[in-house]
């Protein structure tokens, strides 16, 4: 046999190892982790024979084999850097984007340093021996990351002993140049407004507005027009030729790819709702198959019905199921697949549901929310409800908004004034503010651009939108 042969028919199969586990932390580990989580205390164990203090803890001293399991000691949250490296590569197992500093830190009271992340200082400023302090995580992961990171100690031991230094107010932790620049960029850009066009939805049909796209080609054309008009993102539910919403992987991928081919710059946000009566598996598997940059993540089980607005008569009754388990499983699957979730909030309860699940810690920042108004089963648009929702968001989160029918334009106007972003499109409303049928989603985008102008907001390009929402271009 030769290693060199005709490779014309050689085929490579894709595969993946992804296997969830639960690990028992051990009796020592359990106490260390729960104490860290519940009391924000870092514990070590001390060998009574050689006096060595170990952290992370263990039950036997490796020096003299003494059983040390009962000999817990509390360590301080401060310590010194003994060694460090700067991680310059990005990878999926890393807790931060590159570059970040990984340091060996010897806590006050411990004899062995342990590894942790060091922030708030530029890599070239780090010096072995420098004083640092732990910053505890807001949300627990029940791992060493319950210490979120270390940062330069605000008041060092040396400063305490020198009165001249002590009189000064403790300075804010210095941040690296890159971090400050990124923060500045984000701040400047959050003044920019991201316009999204929801091209079709699952229920708007051609008999209501002939411009609703069904085929991949129609989606691509429509997306292109919206992009030209100022949209940075399109939200997509794929359709069959006959107009029915579909969970067929091929059709969805074809639709996604047609848009990306016509308009590579544009962000595609796919629906994980798909349409009425789809199973959880049908809803999430297509997202993982297509891996768009972003996808909707629905936050509560609710009525999602067709009710006549004038008479109150029920045309179609439907319960849109989004259990906590689905919120959790969909969210995790998206985060693992590198698909940024857009959390759909139909009322305040949805936000509370997300806040609860987010305690598991798997959602990555920045968080992006969409306030949805006017669904029969959700809440109608009210400015004070809007502001209440906005104030309840986690710090630094982005929000956009959309409204069904006549709620559409008032809601996005409110959002543009409140610092949020805007979603339009035939999914939500078939008309423009004059009451005429929209010629396409793009005509609503043009209106949104006018609103932005009035509100004094610049329209974000797709790349600026990526920066704001934390997306990775695909």
């Amino acid at each position: 046999m030769s290693l060199d042969f005709d490779r014309k028919d050689c085929f490579v199969v894709d595969g993946k190892l992804a296997l969830p586990y639960t690990y028992f932390a051990g009796r020592m580990g359990s106490k260390f982790i729960t104490t860290l989580r519940d009391e924000k205390k870092i514990m070590g164990v001390k060998c009574p024979v050689c006096n060595k203090v170990y952290v992370p803890p263990r039950q036997t001293c490796e020096v003299d084999m003494t059983d040390i399991r009962e000999n817990w000691v509390e360590l301080r949250n401060t310590g010194e850097v003994t060694n460090f490296t700067v991680i310059r590569y990005d990878d999926k197992h890393l807790p931060r984007k590159a570059p970040f500093i990984l340091a060996l830190i010897k806590l006050d009271g411990a004899d062995s340093p342990f590894a942790h992340i060091l922030e708030g200082i530029a890599p070239e400023e780090v010096k072995p021996g420098m004083r640092v302090e732990a910053v505890f995580a807001k949300a627990t992961t029940s791992t060493i990351l319950d210490i979120d990171h270390f940062e330069p100690a605000r008041v060092s031991k040396v400063q305490v002993s020198e009165p001249a230094e002590r009189t000064q107010a403790p300075a804010a932790a210095p941040r690296s140049k890159e971090e400050m620049e990124q923060d500045e960029r984000r701040k400047a850009m959050s003044k920019k407004v991201i316009i999204t066009a929801a091209l079709a939805g699952a229920a708007t049909m051609k008999n209501q507005n002939p411009a609703v796209p069904y085929t991949p080609q129609e989606f691509a054309e429509d997306a292109y027009k919206c992009w030209k008009a100022g949209a940075a993102m399109v939200h997509v539910h794929a359709r069959e030729d006959g107009g029915m919403a579909t969970h067929d992987h091929k059709r969805i991928k074809d639709t996604h790819d047609a848009i990306k081919e016509k308009c590579p710059d544009l962000i595609v946000n796919m629906s994980s709702a798909v349409g009425m009566g789809k199973t959880a598996e049908q809803r999430i598997s297509q997202i993982i198959h297509v891996k768009p940059e972003m996808a909707s993540l629905n936050t509560n089980t609710m009525n999602f019905s067709l009710v006549d607005r004038k008479s109150g008569k029920v045309f179609i009754d439907f319960v849109f199921e989004n259990t906590f388990t689905m919120l959790q499983d969909f969210g995790k699957a998206m985060e693992e697949a590198g698909v940024k979730p857009e959390m759909e909030l139909y009322d305040m309860g949805g936000l509370d549901n997300w806040l609860l699940i987010s305690k598991q810690g798997f959602f990555t920042k920045p968080y992006n929310f969409n306030f949805v108004w006017g669904v029969a089963g959700g809440q109608a648009f009210r400015p004070d409800a809007f502001m209440t929702m906005k104030h309840a968001l986690p710090e630094g989160a982005n929000f956009t908004t959309c409204g069904v029918g006549t709620d559409q334009f008032p809601a996005i106007t409110m959002s543009s004034l409140a610092g949020g972003h805007m979603r339009v499109g035939l999914e939500d409303n078939i008309r423009i503010p004059t009451g005429e049928l929209a010629k396409g989603s793009y005509e609503q985008v043009e209106w949104a651009v006018k609103i932005a102008e009035i509100a004094g907001r610049e329209v974000a390009t797709p790349d600026e939108a990526r920066e704001i929402m934390g997306l990775r271009k695909k």
């Binding site: 490579v12 060694n83 490296t85 990984l102």
Partner: protein, 381 residues
């Protein structure tokens, strides 16, 4: 000194960045056929191979019981089959132990690794860490090595320029090795302007992803003439595991390597490695490791790695004439690659890189982040 074990034949394929068109079974089979041809060994249950040891890794192969994928191509079906899921040099120690204990007298030892298969070798090594204290931080062998590099360079006066010299030389030497991965020749300036990977390690300071497979036939002293006229003898083997947590170790102490080398030297009756050993193959998967391991095996003075490079230590002691691991061998198989190079040298088959009259050679292997586990083998012509 105990009884001796002979390496009767070695086989390998060329190291390659990506054998995408070969299954690792193909790669092994190539080596297997070569061993059969060189030794005419059979699978006769009385006189042939009854024990096969393989070396592979479940995560690198993405297959539980990774050896299951190769038993048929290496002739291990219906026979004793054992797997070394650790650095390959330990498989050599294992084969040696089987023979010395009298449990078998002929052992086939085969190994493979296709690093090109996985998206990220760093993710594979991240899984070497516990899920509570280290893994969530993203610690992997690159970051662990980088921490060791900083501490070692400070202690031993090793500079960025020294590391550039190590890289330049490795690639130059590899050009003389027909089995070496083909890496571009570079000069010191190229290396010193290569981007940082994890400070103070640059991208070129770290070995590249590589696919490779090998085979070896080992037997007891009594039967060696049945298989070869040029046996190479394993006269010493030693290994040592250091503490798990990086913070529990003195990263610059070479604790585990010194212990491993001491045991191997004792068994081989070596008192002064500088005088008695003709060539050294060190598993330098990162450039700083070459001078550091040289200190560990005793051919550079403690804390003088930088000066040792300046004084021509690498040439003086014939270190890594093959190009070393830095030029590219799979991480898992660095030790086997080192040992095979020693065998070729001791048989006088090392071509342009031949050390004339080489009688004794040392192969060293390191596994785990920052050289946690170390093993040393002494081979003699």
């Amino acid at each position: 000194m105990g009884k001796r074990v002979a390496v009767c034949a070695v086989a390998q394929i060329k190291n390659d960045p990506n054998y995408w068109h070969l299954r690792f079974q193909n790669m092994l089979h190539e080596c297997f056929e070569s061993i059969m041809e060189q030794t005419k060994v059979t699978f006769d249950m009385e006189k042939g191979i009854r024990t096969v040891i393989t070396c592979s890794d479940d995560v690198f192969d993405a297959r539980t019981i990774s050896n299951n994928g190769v038993t048929d191509v290496v002739g291990a079906q219906f026979r004793g089959e054992e797997k070394m899921a650790q650095e390959s040099i330990n498989g050599l120690g294992y084969a040696m132990a089987s023979i010395l204990s009298g449990h078998d007298d002929v052992v086939l030892f085969m190994g493979h690794c296709k690093e090109s298969q996985g998206e990220s070798k760093k993710m594979v090594t991240n899984l070497a860490y516990d899920p509570f204290y280290c893994r969530p931080l993203g610690l992997d062998f690159v970051s662990a090595d980088a921490l060791q590099a900083r501490a070692y360079m400070r202690k031993s006066g090793v500079t960025d320029t020294h590391l550039a010299k190590v890289v330049v030389r490795s690639r130059k030497n590899a050009r003389k090795n027909p089995y070496a991965r083909e890496c571009a020749l570079v000069d010191e300036q190229d290396v010193m302007s290569s981007p940082m990977l994890a400070d103070p390690m640059r991208e070129m300071h770290y070995y590249p992803d590589t696919d490779w497979a090998f085979g070896m036939l080992l037997c007891c002293e009594e039967r060696v003439k049945e298989f070869t006229k040029k046996p190479v003898w394993i006269s010493g083997y030693g290994s040592c595991m250091d503490s798990y947590f990086l913070g529990d170790r003195d990263l610059t102490s070479n604790f585990s390597l010194k212990n491993a080398a001491k045991r191997a030297y004792e068994k081989a009756g070596i008192k002064d490695p500088r005088k008695e050993i003709n060539l050294f193959e060190l598993s330098d998967h990162a450039a700083y490791q070459l001078p550091m391991w040289a200190e560990g095996v005793g051919i550079a003075d403690e804390g003088k790695g930088g000066a040792w490079i300046d004084e021509g230590g690498m040439e003086k002691y014939n270190v890594n004439l093959s190009g070393g691991q830095l030029n590219g061998n799979p991480l898992l198989l660095g030790g086997a690659a080192r040992a095979i190079e020693c065998v070729l040298q001791l048989r006088g088959e090392a071509g342009d890189r031949q050390v004339k009259g080489a009688k004794k050679a040392l192969a060293q292997a390191a596994y785990g982040g920052a050289g946690q586990h170390q093993a040393v083998v002494i081979l003699e012509a």
